[in-house]
Amino acid sequence: MTQIYWLASYPKSGNTWMRIFLNNYWENADQPININELERTTALYVRDYFDEVLHIESALLTYAEIDALRPVFHRTYTGLIVNINGQFCKVHDAFERLPDGTPMFPADATAGGIYIVRNPLDVVVSYAHHNAASVEDTIDVLVDDTHALSMFPNTQSHQLHQHLRTWSRHVESWLEQREFPLLVVRYEDMLLQPHETFAAVIRFIQWEVDAVRLDKAIRFSAFDELKQQETKHGFHEKPKSAESFFRKGQAGDWQNVLTQAQVERIVSAHHAIMKRFDYLPVLNPSINDHI
């Protein structure tokens, strides 16, 4: 039985970039892989997979009934993986447990997790563009403990609902779990120290690190390449509300967008986790006083 590597992150934190890198590294081709054909990674929140694997009609189930079946769905799915050397599944859920304590992502279905974390100041800006929402509303979303994706009770999304919680809770939930080994990767390190950061990922998933292959996969996954492919052919994961999926791919763009008051709100809400990841901006003394 092949077990799953979860590629976990809050939205707009580099998950897709990581998936594209892994696909490029695996393929080791002479040209970049097509971003619309990421065959080495998948997303188990796709409703059809759930229905096909469990032989059920999830459209008839309540959110709680679907949640209750997700651990067995993940476990059953691992029994069906036959074609690849390792399976990588994108996930935006927080590390959730059922009311009886059963983890949504069970240890016996899991080889490990790669958690990608990004400065919430940049997440807010990127997530606002992604959802065509205001920065203020997006700041509210990041402190909303009920925040979920694809939770539309009056229609059927092609994705199952996913519980995100607050940004801080999302990060904490994955870091606190002790069900399986977890590699934590900072988006900013993927950007500034790509060779060291992606080599650590390759080692974690127990593939052989090949310097030439690594360098090529990093180049083939670079932002300009992804942007160019999206401009030319589109990207099927782009929400209809967003102008593009790959927008700037920078760290620190928040400095050009957020007001002082907005920065204060975000820092105030997520201070502990931001401090842990060295994300606290240099604030004027009056702000530091009340945080």
Partner: protein
């Protein structure tokens, strides 16, 4: 026992199906009744998280909700705790359990709905949520008769070897969002019963327009929502039709385990030979109803 006419058969059930067409027949082809359902199926050849089965029997579990025992393509026994309401039982019977019973009968339960156009049956199939029922409802609004929702039973006329759709229940299951898009008023929607308590999926009755006569299959439309712009209607070659014929079957992996797939493939060969297959491509971001209806009706007329 209530007696109903559906799928060209007589269904006897101790559970009422309020919208179904009543039958006077004493002979039951299918019986649905409450009873004891064992936790283990003796002689099971395959099992999954929610089921155990062999060629002639299947037990299907919905944890905390119900257990179903499907036998010989003729009988469904259900057991449920008092907390499970009748609507929930009925919904799972209509959407999951009955198609599995038709596999035991070695028949063709195709995922999706069917509508009468030009005296023939058009089957709208495709993945869950692509808009099959919504398109059927839009056709119904324009005066076309709905023959089946959720799954469609195709059976061959023995004399002419012609594939026929046998109408099922005179209802469509529609999400509240779809009903709004179809211009149903908030008040009208509030008055429609829901498929299950707590689910904003409603039961739309087809009323007096429903008929039970089987109709020859005129076309099978596989609905998609492709990423790139493409033609709304794309005819499938014989080869591509054969590649798709397996996928359009309800619960096809279970059909393989039940060993009923061999019967299906025999029938599917005839189906591909006698009915035209199409890709029906809706826009990814919105539901271009008029364009889809035009594409289907014009292609059937041709």
């Amino acid at each position: 026992m209530f007696s109903y006419a559906c799928f060209g058969l007589c269904l006897h059930s101790d559970l009422p199906f309020p919208n179904a067409v009543r039958s006077e027949s004493d002979h039951a082809d299918i019986v649905i009744r409450a009873g004891d359902v064992p936790t283990t199926l003796a002689g099971a050849t395959h099992q999954g998280v929610l089921y155990q089965l062999n060629e002639t029997a299947l037990i299907y579990y919905l944890p905390g909700l119900a257990r179903f025992w499907v036998k010989d393509g003729r009988e469904i026994v259900y057991a449920a705790p008092p907390t499970t309401d009748i609507d929930t039982l009925r919904a799972f019977l209509m959407v999951i359990i009955l198609p599995l019973l038709f596999h035991q009968r070695h028949e063709m339960p195709i995922r999706g709905c069917a509508v009468e156009i030009d005296g023939g049956a058009v089957i709208l199939t495709g993945y869950s949520g692509v808009g099959k029922s919504t398109l059927a409802a839009a056709l119904h609004q324009r005066g076309f008769r709905v023959l089946a929702d959720e799954f469609t039973v195709v059976r061959f006329d023995e004399a002419a070897q012609q594939p026929l759709v046998y109408p099922s229940f005179p209802v469509l299951h529609l999400w509240r969002f779809a009903l709004h898009k179809l211009n149903y008023s908030q008040t009208a929607i509030e008055q429609l019963p829901t498929v299950r308590p707590g689910l904003q999926k409603h039961i739309l009755s087809m009323g007096d327009t429903f008929r039970l006569e089987p109709l020859p299959v005129r076309g099978i439309y596989i609905m998609n929502a492709p990423m790139r712009d493409t033609d709304v209607l794309v005819p499938l070659t014989l080869e591509k039709s054969l590649l798709n014929v397996n996928w359009i079957l309800s619960y096809q992996r279970l059909a393989i385990e039940m060993n009923s797939i061999k019967h299906y493939w025999q029938l599917a060969g005839h189906l591909v030979a006698q009915a035209r297959f199409w890709y029906l491509n809706r826009l990814k971001q919105t539901f271009n109803t008029d364009e889809l209806i035009r594409a289907v009706t014009q292609s059937v007329s041709r």
